[in-house]
Symmetry: C2
Subunit: 408 residues, 2 copies
């Protein structure tokens, strides 16, 4: 039975991880930085070595195409190579290099699939440097206007379009991935479910809905010394109460719903001044839209109550929502069949994190394969998946691809 | 009766406020920046115009000396011209330019005091760019070693000594202010006490004790989506609970004690990652050392309790303490006599903020005059004192100086 070359895959994961490597064995390769360019150059060179026809679209997505025996709709395999700040070596990279390993394995075995295969590396999945996340898969499949994406700016005011041009990856609109027969994305789980279940790979039923809000607290900056406690309007005092309230909202909603305050910006943020302004993020996730709306109602209620009690003005802006996605049954079935064939233990689960597969699913039957994450950790330097789990995941991707692309 | 030229003083306060001016009508003139250098150059030019003998010591303190009729110990008049980020136009500047106005008034009236007068502009009072605050008055009067001060670095790693040399204000140790007959510092109140009392100027009895601590929370950074609420070790969740606890500690201790969390740094501080590490400041102030110790004990207790309940490790480092200071009776009496003579309404109060006068008081009889602050605000762009209050404060400084320096 056909198997991937696990050593080659590990070697490439390692090589890519040296681009933007951090002292703590992680990776910082934010979208459209010099590190991202170096990572793209390396990926493109590997695509050429694998005899793929490489093209770049107007969003910087890199597509490597392998012809099929007939020119029907292609099967897309992909993920992303940008990372968060001090992120890990597998998040995103595994899906792109796993797809490349599938192609290399087919090359080695001289197998041509009926359908063409296209490996896609999506630009700016993480949404750390340029918000929102999954920006370019979203743009390709109609969620965002190109002009909107081009105008997004990082915290230094640098625009997406300018940075894309600067790193030399501004391609043609006609190069975008188009309609596809199926989309498969291999990814680390980024959570503890597979580890708790003791399973190396998971079949993903869908992606939870996510909504992001920004809460701004406006109090009164003042010298820390001479302002009596009862007269203060401390923006951080209000924000702290909301951090606790958000935690309670998530806990009350119950698994797999979660609620997180990940970012907080305090002004002026000096030791001897009462904070006058705080901007904080709120991230809610739920299996259904009703859950998201229920949590938002509670958030707005808490902001009103805390504002009333502290004398600090709070405003909530819900600026981004991603509805829950249910993956396509034929693709899920192909993944399940591959796992069966490979005689691997598995588990079905929902993804708590967003992935490019979510937007691709708007237009093409899509599915995801999860690989177990040690301690459930990701978006950190200690993100780790065991080589045998990665091998298992890549083999599942290989055989699911053979099914949906049709192998001779 | 002799009076300052209020218009000249206002004009100079305005001119100095244009150096580092912010869009919001405030000032950002952090210690040893290019803005600080420009402010120093302007001040030195005014000192020369006022026929003072100008010298700079090895801490960058600028001293302008006016000879007396006898060469006894001088009377020092001073404050600072550095500001916080987005600070105001009066904090510090008023004490230096008020002292300059006293000299100009004496020049205009051809009065020579018995004792020499020295105007001192102390380097880095605010402690925003280089911690701790009141760094150079502390170094001159034996609180800090010169090597310690020189080695302090800002958040970009730039050292105090290097930056002092860069801006051209690294002078000689022999130029430091020495023993003095008295020290007088005119300053805005930075609190609401005089405004609530309806008085333009205040006599300061002393300065509350201050202690600064840094609390570090170490949890586990993780992707916001797939981590179930009960399994999280969210460093910001722990920090938020401590912000509320610190507020309660200050409120329970009671006026004029206060407790403030002014700074909080979250890592990685991105919207979709559970914060793994938070560093936060805690500022406690009290009339006596016992009050500070009592608040510290409660802080340590709270950090232990929150750490236990959240699974996040908390450590407390108390890194700086400034004991309460009681000002010298003869200087307080001279200020009170000047206020009487000028027939001004007044109020006695404690300073909730630290000032250079605190360290000078270690070696010389010292006192402070406060000017009413509109809405009690300072360390912000809307810091404001009415021209008539500033004039009243400068006249009090003038007459208290005549008393302690001896006028013919």
């Amino acid at each position: 039975m056909l198997r991937v070359n696990a050593e080659r895959l590990q070697d490439r994961l390692h090589q890519l991880s040296t681009v933007g490597a951090t002292a703590g064995c992680g990776v910082t390769r934010l979208a459209l930085t010099d590190e991202d360019r170096a990572g793209r150059d390396l990926l493109a060179s590997w695509m050429h070595e694998a005899r793929l026809t490489v093209r770049v679209d107007d969003l910087g997505n890199i597509i490597g195409r392998r012809a099929g025996t007939d020119e029907s709709l292609p099967v897309l395999l992909g993920s992303h190579i940008d990372t968060v700040r001090n992120g890990g070596r597998y998040d995103g990279a595994l899906g792109v290099l796993g797809a490349l390993e599938v192609v290399e394995t087919l090359n080695d075995a001289a197998i041509t699939t009926s359908r063409p295969l296209e490996i896609v590396s999506w630009t700016n999945e993480e949404g750390v440097r340029f918000e929102p996340a999954m920006m370019s898969s979203g743009a390709v499949f109609g969620r965002f206007e190109t002009a909107y994406v081009y105008g997004r700016a990082d915290s230094d005011g640098l625009r997406f379009e300018d940075e894309l041009r600067r790193i030399g990856y501004l391609g043609e609109p006609s190069n975008r991935p188009d309609a596809a027969a199926a989309y498969l994305e291999l990814h680390i789980e980024q959570g503890p479910v597979l580890e708790n279940a003791g399973k190396p790979v998971g079949i993903v039923d869908g992606i939870v809905g996510i909504t992001w809000s920004e809460v701004t607290w406006t109090g009164q900056a003042d010298h820390a010394g001479p302002s009596p406690m009862p007269l203060r309007r401390d923006a951080l005092g209000a924000a702290a109460r909301l951090v606790t309230a958000v935690e309670e909202i998530g806990t009350r909603e119950g698994h797999p719903a979660v609620a997180t305050v990940g970012r907080i910006v305090v002004e002026p943020n000096v030791i001897n001044t009462i904070p006058g302004r705080v901007v904080m993020s709120v991230d809610f996730r739920s299996l259904d839209n009703e859950g998201l709306d229920r949590m938002m109602l509670q958030l707005e209620d808490k902001v009103r109550g805390i504002g009333y009690r502290t004398g600090v003005d709070g405003t909530v802006v819900r600026f981004w929502t991603s509805e829950p996605t249910v993956f396509a049954k034929p693709v899920i079935d192909a993944i399940a069949a591959a796992i069966d064939e490979l005689e691997l233990p598995t588990h079905r689960l929902w993804s708590g994190a967003g992935h490019d597969a979510k937007y691709v699913a708007d237009r093409a039957p899509s599915g995801m394969i999860f690989v177990r994450s040690q301690n459930g950790l990701s978006h950190c330097e200690t993100e780790y998946s065991a080589p045998e789990d990665i091998e298992a995941g890549a083999n599942v991707l290989l055989h699911a691809t053979l099914t949906v692309a049709g192998a001779r």
